[in-house]
Symmetry: C2
Subunit: 360 residues, 2 copies
Amino acid sequence: MGDSGRGCDYHGGCRPGRQEGSALNARTHHSQAAPSPGLFQAFDSVRPRLALVERFISDQLDAGPAAVREAGAYVFEGGGKRIRPAILLLVGRMLGYDGDRDVRYGGVVEMIHTATLVHDDIIDHATLRRGRATANNRWGNQLTVLLGDWLYTRSMELALDVGDVDVMRVLSRATIQMIEGEILGLRLKGRSDVSRDEYLEISRRKTAELFAAACSIPALFAPELSRFRAPLDEFGRNLGTCFQIVDDLLDLTASQQRLGKPVFSDLREGTLTLPFILLLPRLERAERAMIEQVMADGTFNGASPEQLRELLDRHDVLAEVRAVAHEYGRRAVGALDALPAAPERDLLAAAPSLLIDRDY
Amino acid sequence: MGDSGRGCDYHGGCRPGRQEGSALNARTHHSQAAPSPGLFQAFDSVRPRLALVERFISDQLDAGPAAVREAGAYVFEGGGKRIRPAILLLVGRMLGYDGDRDVRYGGVVEMIHTATLVHDDIIDHATLRRGRATANNRWGNQLTVLLGDWLYTRSMELALDVGDVDVMRVLSRATIQMIEGEILGLRLKGRSDVSRDEYLEISRRKTAELFAAACSIPALFAPELSRFRAPLDEFGRNLGTCFQIVDDLLDLTASQQRLGKPVFSDLREGTLTLPFILLLPRLERAERAMIEQVMADGTFNGASPEQLRELLDRHDVLAEVRAVAHEYGRRAVGALDALPAAPERDLLAAAPSLLIDRDY
């Protein structure tokens, strides 16, 4: 695909489904918002294989102890756009892969992602995710710690079962990066002097490395595909960073109903995301103190959501943050040049815009 | 080694160091009890290699984020008898192995063991372990969840780094079993009708499988050693069950000072161990209700430690439990018949007695 193809894909403009929503998950029982048309359509070509990924994950849970079956089914039924498996499947098709390891590793990356979510919710004392009670809220920290451990360990076993040592290396490296990203994030909690570089480093580790793994794993399915590994890694890392920036943005701009969790939750947990990192140095001391109070006591006593949004608007910070997301999106799309022209490449080239233009 | 050798090794009688004590850890800063002479001496022949295991673990922590270095060092300095690495090293020597993978996997099994401990302490809301504040008590659940995740994932990577797929299979299988054992244990919490079989199943998964892994891993170091894998697995699984039964016994018989944590903590957390499983059916209804109240409210309001001990004594339950531990010890020693005669085999044959006869 030439630049024109990419240029034409790289605009977006749709209004997709709820954040990490469940449009793709047939077993979902609730739906607080319409499905995400943009992402939904982009994934159309891999939908039958995404259904196999769902089945694969269910089969793993069903083979576990009763508590894993029950709490695991609840967590996976809670939705998620299945972005990581969808992208892995699209990459596999783009490379002409026609085996079934893409389904296995689509399931595995979603299981690893879910393991981090359930442990994160313990860490953040979160009570709501995707509009429902979190696993820790419903089953307690005890089972939730173990459910995460089980998902991590079973994920590694699933690569081991088929002897894919190279895939395991990619997965365990990404997992360590995610955990270390969380650890770094924890250390910065409550600090109002976090730098843009620190934020981007944490976003890379927490999110982008697993995207990079999801994208580059299909290049390990056959020796002749290995030349695509580096550009796929590059694509995924930039797409993942773009995704995380937008995710953090939605925490400020979407409504609680759309978001499925309380607004400004990052800030109230003491975590600065890019908009506030850009905003804080531009504020008067008294305004900074308002934000610091929200971070310190976790309530809106220091400043209401409306006041926070007014400050963000006045300094036009959100547009700047969107521009940063677009820059990562452009880098992602640029990396696709080295990949085979295929309909799936066009879909992958559209992914950054679709991610940026979702509004919850 | 013939039966006579084993018979002579299988008596014990020493009074070893504190439970999961720190006698072997040069970096330990505190010592609430004298070192464990029996175990201490048994491990003498591998002491220089145990020091390498300590170094190996420190090196891993030092390569992690600052929080892992700090909290990890604290947790590992907290002691532990290093039984799993010591046994792995002894088995390696017994088989004539003279490389250094035993040090790596000694470190790895201790890291996996420690990951389960830090997550267990979150699960049990424990505040004290080995006489010191638990990691969750000192750093909060957040970092402690991530420290456990880091240790699990890094452990797998350490096997992956050297391409040991067979060892990874053994380790991930043992880890899944441990996590599932914890999950099963959680489900039985608060239930006063737990059966002996359920207890033994959980003990096998929670503890014995990692012992089995530690013992059988050296048989994977060279193709000609693979014939020893099954008997080593059998030895480890029985030794681990023996160890767990004794560990649970010490929770009832040792003092808080010796134990480094509160007495009867299993019961007060709602977990029935073998002594109470044997005791409960023999009690009057009112006595059973006393025990059930301790389980239900986590205090000694239902029955004091003295009353509980009196009930255990009156029905002579502890001797029966010790006999069960001895039975597993005998099975462990029996499995050694298939292994090469060597001084290390005699030490391994002595291990069950040393574990049973420790008094805290």
